[in-house]
Structures are given as structure tokens and as C-alpha cells.
Symmetry: C2
Subunit: 199 residues, 2 copies
DNA sequence: CCCCGATGCTACCGGCGGGTATCCTTTCCT
DNA sequence: AGGAAAGGATACCCGCCGGTAGCATCGGGG
């Protein structure tokens, strides 16, 4: 019981640290943010952070990894769901866009600070990215076989689709003209067009 | 005469420094590269660099600015050239893609290290980026008026188009399966599809 | 042949920030 | 109530790196 609660509190603290790190890394960059900055923002001190993370780099990995995993999951789940390839691709792109925009800061940090990750963490993430591309390419290939898509080069198309959506982290403003759902839908439509589907 | 030559030599040295900085910033990141690293690679010493650039940050700006300018020019020239909007958009996207891929390292550095630029340099570059978006949006609007394009949301489409092309810096490998021209053509085709043109 | 300017190097500084050794406080169990 | 352990703070270290002051060297003109 007490054990259960301890665990939860530990996880909560860890999470608060990650939250604040995301905010500051996003605003000031990884090397532009000191651990003292993060600690100060949390009202604690640097050694406190070291009781939860072995190093600054490990903290960076902790905020990148899960987000990349979510991206992959979004596409993988949609690809394996029911419906025509067209329907599944729309779902895949829309859901992927939602992850990108909801975790905009994490995604931005990952792409900008990739070079600061440990080789091991980076390798792990790159495995996920390759899987992402494979799943997306597979779905495109299915659509071509089904006669729904018309795609000259599957690999390039997969990269272009993924890129178009990912890129949204650079320009989306949560308080902007379009609501999140509208942006996701618009991007999913544009994605479908690239596959030769009339929208 | 001697004066002329001196200028040229000065420009050449400056350029060599930039070249090496591009290479190292690309491989190791901006903060991951020291001025001593760059100097060593050039077979000179740190003060040598300071006779050509006031600071490390100024060096960063010197390698970002011109590349962003080239991107804008590519799109602006194509937009103002002759032909139907469809033809001009294909040219714009193809030429833009060529800039991105030929100056892949510079583009990558800019997007990753943007936060390290001086506020003034960043402001200047952002002006260029806004102009880029305006020019592209204008071309899209023309195509819609001409009845060639079918675009629900011009702004989102412009961002998606720019993003899809820009993103190529993350995955293009000069020694990869496709030649540079083929990649550019493929991306231009995908771009046109997004506008509702049958390709 | 000597002097002067240009050019680049040697040698240094100083602060910033990741990481740690140690001490204090609070809480809970006996 | 006493004591131990956990959780967190204070205070510190040290290496790295951007930036600079001053010296050496070399070539060209008088």
C-alpha cells in the first residue's frame, strides 16, 4: 500500500521534471538550458534531479523516446485497423499528426537535439523510425495493390508523407486560426492526395 | 591589381572557414564543435578565425543566411517565370528541392541550430521565410484562380508543400538509390498532386 | 640591408555548468 | 522518546571552450 503510493509519487516527480525539461529545452535548446534552470523552475535543486536521472543526456532521452514510440504506434495501429487502405491511411496520417501536434515540443526537441543523445538511445530510436517507414511503406504498397493508390516511388512517397506531417511541429500554433482537429484533417487530406486519391 | 587579389584571397579564406564549419556543425552540432576543432581541420589556429568572424555565432549566421536566401530565390524566380501556374509550381518545387539537397548540411544546421543565432540574424532570416510563404501562397492562389489547382486551405497547403520539400534534408543521401535530379522531380510531382493536379 | 606592416601563432584568462561529496532535516518505526 | 534511514539542500570541484593580448615571422619597399 505505502509501497504503491511511493512508486506513484516517484513517477509523479519524475514526470514533473520531464515536463519542465520539455518546456525549457523547447524554448532555449538543450545546451542553452542548465540543470539549475530546470531545478529552479521546479523549486528544487540540481541534486534532486540526479536522484531521478543519471545525467542530462538521460533526461533528454526520457522525453524523446516515448514520443517517437507514440508516433509509431499511431501509424501502426491505423495500418492494422479495418477498412480500405484509403481509410486506414487517412486514419494513420490524422492520428500521426495529432501526436506530432499534441507533443509538439517533444518532437521539436528530438529533431533539433538528436545529436546530443547517447549512441545507444539514438540507435533505439532509429530502430523505431525505420519501423515507422516500413509500416507506412507497407500500407502504401497495399493501397497500390488494391488499385486505390497510384504511387511512382513508394519509398520517396513514404518519406514525403512522414515529412509533411512531421514538419507541422515547426509551424503549428496551438492558439492559431485552425483547431487541432482541423489541422489534422487538412493534413490527412493532403496526404491522401499525394497517393493519387481524389479528395 | 594587388588590391583585387588581396580581396579574393580574403574571400577565399573566409569561404574555407565556412566550408569546414558547415561540415563539422553538421556532423557534431553547433555546441558540439569548438572553434579549435574547426581551426585544426583547416590547419590553422583559433585567432585566425577571429580575423574573419567576430564570433562563433556570426560564423553560424554566415552559413545559414545565404542558403535561406537561395531557397527564397529559387521559389521566387520560378513563381515569376513564364508558363501556367502548374508549370511554375513544378519548377518552383523542383528548384527549391535542388537547393535543399545541394546545401543539405547548411539547411540541416539552420533548422537544428536556429536557437543559437543572434536575435538580429534570426529576425532577418525569418523575414525571408515569411516572404517565402507569401510567394508560394501567391502562386497557389494564382493556380486556384486559373482553375488549375483545387486547394481547400492555401496557407496549410503552402506550409505542407514547403515542409515536404524541406524535410528531404533529413533523409536524402547523396550516394543513395536515386540521383539528385530524380529526387527533385519526384518531390515536385508529389507537390503538384497536393494541389489537386493529376500527374 | 633594414625597417615596417601585415598576418597568424603562442599562451592565457575566466566563467559557466555538469556532476558529486557531504551535511541537514524530517518522518516513521519501535 | 530515541534513532535510523530516506530525501533533499549546500557547497564545491574541475574541465572545457569562447574569446583576447601580445609576440614572432615573413615579405616588400626605401
Amino acid at each position: 500500500m505505502a509501497e504503491q503510493m511511493r512508486e506513484e509519487i516517484l513517477a509523479y516527480k519524475r514526470d514533473r521534471i520531464v515536463q519542465e525539461a520539455v518546456k525549457l529545452f523547447y524554448e532555449r535548446g538543450f545546451t542553452g538550458t542548465t540543470l539549475d534552470d530546470i531545478a529552479a523552475e521546479l523549486g528544487v535543486t540540481k541534486p534532486f534531479i540526479y536522484t531521478h536521472f543519471r545525467s542530462k543526456v538521460e533526461l533528454l532521452a526520457a522525453l524523446c523516446q516515448p514520443t517517437i514510440e507514440m508516433s509509431l504506434e499511431a501509424v501502426a495501429n491505423a495500418a492494422e485497423s479495418t477498412g480500405t487502405p484509403t481509410e486506414r491511411l487517412r486514419r494513420a496520417m490524422g492520428d500521426f499528426a495529432r501526436v506530432v501536434l499534441q507533443r509538439q515540443a517533444n518532437i521539436a526537441i528530438f529533431f533539433r537535439e538528436e545529436k546530443n543523445l547517447s549512441p545507444e538511445a539514438l540507435a533505439e530510436i532509429n530502430t523505431l523510425r525505420r519501423k515507422f517507414d516500413r509500416v507506412l511503406s507497407g500500407l502504401l504498397r497495399e493501397g497500390v495493390s488494391a488499385g486505390e493508390f497510384n504511387i511512382p516511388d513508394i519509398s520517396v512517397a513514404a518519406l514525403a508523407l512522414g515529412g509533411m506531417i512531421s514538419w507541422a511541429y515547426t509551424w503549428h500554433r496551438p492558439e492559431g486560426r485552425l483547431a487541432l482537429d482541423d489541422v489534422c484533417a487538412a493534413l490527412a487530406d493532403l496526404a491522401l492526395r499525394m497517393t493519387g486519391v481524389a479528395v
